[in-house]
């Protein structure tokens, strides 16, 4: 690999790399605002200026400048090298670049920082970005000086409503145009633009438009300062109190990698942020996915229920056993969930196998809209995983929800043990009530409604779980908070039920369950290539 020298450190680069990209890959941070690895180069913030030394034996390119001389009390002529933005500078073999070791680059960065803060309001105490703001970090690292301007700062529009999700603050904006470029290049919707120059520069909406495409919250994510803030997160939490876990978005079958940010003190999840994964979501997430975290605390089922009445989990388990035990084993229907982790589904499949059930059913959230960027029409995070596990455990892909309804109507089912909350056809779920239904549900919904006995399951944020996305990639979502209310991970309910039904499952702890899962569906396996297309489930006839 060719290399160049950055502050006496050898940096490897691929032909075509810019200096900043190669440095970042090598773990060297060149300060920057406007550059984003997923967007085109604008080179407008001037924070990444570096000094490029001339080739051996050649004179440096010098500029004539006026420099203030303290002793003379006047400006004097001086010369300094022409600095280059590292984000736009293509790397070449043997290049010698000075970043932190160049007095000129250091001086230029301090000056840029002074300019960027020239008209910045004193907002840190009320700004959501405080604590993760580049202006704060870089001021201390690269400037540390008071501004020299004595005038009152320029006041600009604040709290401009950009649409249903985003609020803009022109005073805090450094006009790096990351948000403009994101909308143009990733979404393909030229809804934002920049107008005016210098002090007056600001981001504006296209006339007659609102910022209302499906990826608006990413504009807030790429904003390096507090100019764009998400209405959803505004004034909700201070970021330094939040902790993050690596999670997988539950909004659709794409399985975008995310960080779940939660406050450990009140066990509350506050937001999702995208986590870089070049194979899945690159740097981005859609609005639906970012806001999907809200389901952790909304519409949750937090207590066990027997015949619609609140009950203890113990009593509910006894009631569930009383309904399931007398039914002939071949008449128990097992309903898997495309919304639950592979662990939960595997536990249920193991129970089915131990009971001698040969065919499982599966259901999930109904299809929604999709696009060519990230959003998948299948709104379930683990359809591929369920199919893979069912095939490996019972030897057959599960039948769809309609097949279950038909089987119940035909009288072929004696009782149902259902995992999950939503089904494709919510109205048809009432037909399940003809037989006793035991539901293990996270949310209020058709299955919880249909259940004679309902056991509260914890959400994905409350237990480590594996999810296989539509591309067949198996990914782990980590545990953020403790299970809410009386809820427990669904596989624990299955384990307890198995004990009462007198069957032994091959696991008793999370660790053992993981081992069984790894044996059944090796991690990293990309699954069968002929994965059923999203929304198309195997029908009874095909099976």
């Amino acid at each position: 690999m060719p290399t160049f020298l950055l502050d006496d450190r050898e940096i490897e680069f691929n032909p075509g790399d810019t200096v900043i990209a190669a440095a970042e890959r090598a773990g060297v941070d060149i300060p920057h605002y406007c550059w984003h690895p997923g967007l085109s180069t604008a080179a407008n913030c001037r924070m990444c200026l570096v000094e490029v030394l001339p080739p051996e034996g050649r004179p440096a390119l010098l500029l004539d400048v006026l420099r203030y001389d303290d002793q003379k009390g006047d400006y004097v002529m001086a010369r300094k090298p022409k600095l280059q933005p590292a984000c736009q500078l293509g790397a070449a073999p043997g290049m010698r670049i000075k970043s932190q070791t160049s007095e000129h680059a250091v001086e230029a960065r301090a000056a840029v920082q002074e300019f960027l803060l020239l008209n910045h309001p004193v907002d840190c105490p009320i700004c959501d970005q405080a604590g993760e703001c580049r202006l704060q970090d870089y001021w201390l690292e690269h400037s540390g000086k008071k501004k020299r301007m004595k005038d009152e700062i320029l006041h600009r529009p604040k709290a401009v409503d950009f649409g249903p999700t985003i609020v803009y603050d022109a005073e805090r904006c450094i006009v790096c145009t990351r948000c403009v470029r994101f909308c143009d290049e990733v979404v393909g919707d030229h809804v934002l633009d920049k107008r005016e120059r210098g002090n007056l520069g600001e981001i504006v909406l296209a006339p007659g438009r609102q910022l209302d495409h499906d990826y608006t919250l990413m504009t807030e994510h790429v904003c390096p300062v507090g100019a764009l803030t998400a209405k959803d997160f505004r004034f909700k939490a201070r970021v330094w109190f939040l902790r993050s876990v690596r999670s997988v978005c539950q909004g659709c079958a794409t399985g975008c990698n995310a960080y779940t940010d939660y406050d450990p003190r009140n066990q509350t999840v506050y937001r999702h942020r995208p986590r870089e994964n070049q194979e899945v979501n690159k740097y981005w997430m859609c609005d639906e996915g970012v806001l999907d975290y809200r389901r952790v605390h909304e519409g949750r089922l937090l207590n066990a229920r027997v015949l619609g009445k609140k009950s203890s989990t113990e009593d509910a388990l006894s009631e569930a056993t009383a309904r399931l035990a007398p039914v002939a084993k071949d008449k128990v229907a097992i309903l898997l969930s495309y919304s639950h982790s592979s662990e939960d589904n595997l536990a249920l499949l193991e129970l089915a196998r131990a009971l001698g059930v040969e065919q499982a059913y599966a259901a999930g959230r109904p299809d929604g809209s999709g696009d060519k960027i990230l959003r998948h029409v299948d709104k379930n995070p683990n359809r591929a995983g369920v199919h893979q596990l069912a095939a490996a455990t019972l030897g057959a892909v599960p039948l769809d929800f309609q097949s279950l309804v038909r089987a119940v109507e035909a009288g072929r089912i004696g009782a149902i043990l259902a995992l999950g909350s939503a089904v494709e056809d919510a109205e048809a779920a009432v037909h399940l009530k003809r037989v006793p239904v035991v539901s293990i549900s996270t949310f209020e919904g058709p299955l919880a409604q249909a259940g004679a006995v309902v056991l509260p399951a914890s959400s994905w944020a409350e237990e480590r779980g594996t999810f296989v996305n539509a591309a067949g990639l198996s990914q782990v979502s980590e545990k953020a908070i403790e299970p809410q209310g009386e809820s427990l991970p669904a596989w624990r309910h299955v384990l307890a039920l198995a004990g009462r039904l007198g069957v032994t499952l091959p696991f008793a702890r999370a660790k053992d369950l993981e081992k069984v899962l790894n044996a059944r569906a090796p991690r990293g396996s990309t699954g069968p290539a002929s994965q059923p297309a999203a929304g198309v489930s195997t029908t009874e006839a095909q099976a």
């Binding site: 910045h120 907002d123 001021w139 540390g144 330094w240």
Partner: protein, 404 residues
Amino acid sequence: MEPLDLDLESTEVELPVEPMLVNVGPSHPAMHGTVRCVMELSGESIERVDVQVGFLHRGFEKMCERGTWTQVFPYVDRCNYVSPMLNNVGFALACEKMLGIEVPLRCQYYRMVLGELARMSDHLTCDGAMSMELGAFTPFLWMVKARDLIWDIMEEETGARLTHSFGRVGGMAKPPTDGFKEHVRAVVKQVLSILAECERLLLGNRIFLDRLEGVGIISSEDAISLGWTGPCLRAAGVPYDVRKAQPYLKYAEVDFDVPVGTNSDCLDRFLVRIAEMKQCARIIEQCLERMPDHGAVNVDDPRVVLPEKDEVYSTIEATIQHFKIVMEGLKLPAGEVYSYTEGGNGELGFYLVSDGSGTPYRVRIRPPCFLVTAGLERIITGQMVADVVPCFGSLNMIGGECDR
């Protein structure tokens, strides 16, 4: 009522021939702080003794690992709570050593004056309490009166009499008050005159001298091998003083003597402290002469020093500076450092490890008292029970420093 005079013959008193175990402490008025002595007595002489110091445990070093570096100051205040200013300055110097910064001249002298005043208050407490425990109550009251005068200065300067939390990395919480120098000069003069009176009261008193002379002797070799430092080691004839041996602040530039003892007994430890207080007064006078009346107290470094409050409210730069230091904590470069100063009772060392974040990775203290108290067993074995009181008093155990 039953007659009180019992039949003497039936209650014949037998002198014990077995050694008797006597337990003093951990909570006992004669013990300064929580320490426990289990003594095996033969008659009135101590055959064996087991000194246990682990009763006070706040987990101070562990507590330091969850706040910022600045938030450690209140904790070190409570290590030696009789001279907290010395601990504050000692910790600040350790952090500054790691950052490679030096505070302005004015602050260096300010720290020295406050530190020497704290040393005086420490020694006054020790000698005063020691004499009180031997029955001389008047000197105690007088010495504590002198200590209160010193604490008046502390209150004036810091706002608190006992736990000041006044040190800061890169300076002090506030600059000296306007009348600082006059106040200190007046108080030092008063303290010295009170000290002279106490000397007249005690050093001509046969009973007092008899209780101290030749009691609690330790050889200088033993003292060194036990890790003793400070007045107790100097009383054993070893002229080791960090201020002379490894001068910090401006101690190399001021003129003072290191008093040493000859007999290494309780009386020497008492006298060394008296002599040191007089040296403190000398140092203070020289510092006051050289301390500039104007100029910055804190270093000019936005990484460590908080900005002025009115600027925080009016400019974004100061707001950011304040935010970074308060919310994230000032950051010490990754690495480790051992920094030591002369505390009230000897070498006060701080071993700090930083991972480069705003929170200490490890704070280890070398408290002089812990090591000095470890020698109590050595000096009271073979002594009479009554000698425990002056011996223990002369070591000046401070419970907070023995937090292990």
